[in-house]
């Protein structure tokens, strides 16, 4: 594969890598909710400072994080423009014919983009520092209590891990089929959007057919290896809750306290 996939695991041995995936999952979930409570410079500042610390601790190069922000740049831009021109309130900062920019508009534009950046950085931190297997195991483990209400936690986790396993394979295959159709004169680049979507049909159909074939093969191989669902299964990976993970609870408590004090 010739491209870095967004959300790819970056192996390492940092403190963040070593945390229990369940602790990380729970923390990230709670932290994302917390982000929505920040509403002024001080509270956003606290969260930005905290995220910067975690990024530093993860020992993952900054440019990998900035790469993860690239796909949402357009969204951020739209949000900024939206708030700049449409949110009213506070002092008028700029006025030119039909354009009026209010103080509140600038505030909102800054905060909304910060919020988006924080969310993406946090999610990226989780996927960069947690191997897919750990992630799915953590999820399965956390969802386990709900199995008694009929939630197929094991199947869900297995599905996720198989999907992660096959993403690069299918990505490569897409490239191959695209090239083959290009050699037969297919054009994926020109024309209006509708035509371009239509031009992908000769890629998508073979891709679906191959995905089904792979699924069939894989099911057979799994069955041959005695797979019969989650019952009586043991697990190679064991999850251990350590004192480091408890630390996350304390840090989170401080963050909540900080946000409560700082927000308006």
């Amino acid at each position: 594969m010739n491209q870095l996939v967004i959300g790819q695991y970056v192996p390492g041995r940092s403190l963040i890598h070593q945390l229990d995936p369940r602790a990380k999952l729970a923390f990230v979930f709670a932290y994302m909710i917390l982000v929505f409570f920040a509403n002024n410079i001080a509270s956003y500042g606290l969260l930005l400072f905290f995220s910067a610390c975690t990024i530093y601790l993860s020992q993952i190069p900054l440019r990998i994080f900035s790469a993860s922000l690239k796909p949402i740049l357009f969204l951020i831009l739209v949000m900024i423009l939206f708030h700049l021109f449409l949110t009213k309130g506070g002092q008028v900062l700029f006025h030119f014919s039909f354009l009026t920019i209010y103080e509140e508009g600038v505030r909102q534009a800054v905060f909304i983009s910060l919020r988006l950046i924080l969310l993406v950085l946090t999610a990226s931190l989780l996927t960069f520092t947690t191997s897919p297997m750990d992630l799915t195991d953590g999820l399965e483990n956390m969802l386990h209590p709900f199995t008694r209400f009929g939630l197929p936690a094991h199947e869900f986790a297995l599905m996720m891990s198989i999907a992660l396993r096959f993403i690069p394979t299918i990505w490569d295959e897409t490239e191959k089929i695209k090239k083959a159709q290009m050699a037969r004169g297919a054009d994926f680049e020109s024309g209006h959007i509708f035509r371009r979507v239509k031009s992908y049909i000769p890629v998508l159909i073979p891709l679906f057919i191959s995905a089904f074939r792979r699924a069939e093969d894989l099911a057979l191989a799994m069955e041959a290896r005695c797979y019969r669902g989650g019952i009586n299964r043991t697990k190679l990976r064991e999850l251990h809750f350590s004192t480091k993970d408890l630390g996350l609870v304390i840090i989170f408590a401080f963050l909540v306290l900080g946000i409560c004090l700082l927000r308006e």
Binding site: R184, G185, I209
Partner: protein, 287 residues
């Protein structure tokens, strides 16, 4: 159309930790109407090379001249080249997508903007070339046998009526019978229509039997080239590139350990070997 490749380099993902040089100062010349084979291990740069010749990627540096076209890093002629070069990729049946055999084969000619009449003619011609009976035309390609599906896919490329045909491991996964049928078809096309054929293969038997010139690629450059007789003489060299000898050459080598004077090693067909031995045996055995 002659192909002249000069100082060709191709680097994937330059400037990243994943940077990989696939081709390095490659020089090659493939004359018009010849049948050549490109040999080499996985990762030797074969598949990069054919994608560059087919105009599906731009090289990092260097030049590929195909007829009067020049493919260079910033060349705009890639699209034009694609009209003259047909590529059959590995497992080509995995690219079939249309409801019927005829529609699928017509995909290429349609993209070239030909009239309905011309498209129909091209489809008929291509089906005939690969030996698909016309009754199969309205069938779904997905209901055919593996060997037939591959023929449909190859017909889809031939319908573009390319002057240069590139085939990447066209016989992979076929049984011996299907294999020789397919290669005979291709050899016939080459002879009858003077099509330039570039066969990329791991199979030394196929290369020796069908190609008249061989290129051995290793680490992105051409390490060895010549007629099959010349190339397969370089046994020690080939071992270095983890390539085998054709079965028939191995048999001749085994015979030559006892027989003097040795049997020439530029024999690559059973008929030739048989006749050679008969000539010599005639002198000693009364037939």
């Amino acid at each position: 159309m002659e192909i002249v490749i000069k100082n060709l380099n191709h680097i994937y993902m330059p400037g990243t930790p994943f940077e990989r040089q696939a081709l390095q100062d490659l020089n090659m010349q493939i004359s018009s109407g010849s049948f050549v084979a490109i040999l080499g291990q996985t990762g030797s740069g074969k598949s990069t090379l054919i994608q560059l010749i087919a105009g599906l990627m731009s090289p990092t540096s260097g030049n590929i001249q195909i007829g009067s076209y020049h493919l260079t890093p910033n060349s705009k002629e890639r699209l034009a080249v694609r009209k003259h070069v047909g590529v059959v990729f590995q497992y080509p049946e995995h690219q079939l997508f249309e409801e019927t055999v005829v529609k699928d084969i017509a995909f290429g000619p349609r993209n070239q903007g030909l009239s309905e009449k011309e498209v129909t003619e091209r489809v008929q011609m291509a089906m005939e070339m690969v030996g698909l009976s016309p009754e199969l035309g309205d069938r779904s390609p997905f209901q055919l046998s593996g060997g037939q599906m591959r023929r449909v896919a190859i017909a889809g490329v031939l319908a573009l009526s390319p002057e240069i045909l590139i085939l990447d491991e066209p016989t992979a996964g076929l049984d011996p019978h299907g294999k020789s049928e397919l290669l005979n078809t291709i050899s016939k096309l080459h002879k009858e229509r003077q099509m330039t054929v570039i066969l990329v293969t791991h199979d030394m038997n196929d290369a020796a039997r069908f190609a008249d010139y061989l290129f051995v690629l290793a680490r992105g450059t051409c390490e060895l080239e010549g007629t099959p007789g010349d190339v397969f003489k370089e046994q020690d060299h080939l071992v270095q590139f983890a390539l085998d000898l054709p079965d028939i050459t191995r048999l001749i080598n085994q015979l030559n350990r006892q027989i003097h004077p040795p049997i020439p090693t530029n024999i690559f067909s059973m008929n030739e070997l048989e006749n050679h031995l008969i000539e010599r045996l005639k002198k000693v055995v009364s037939l």
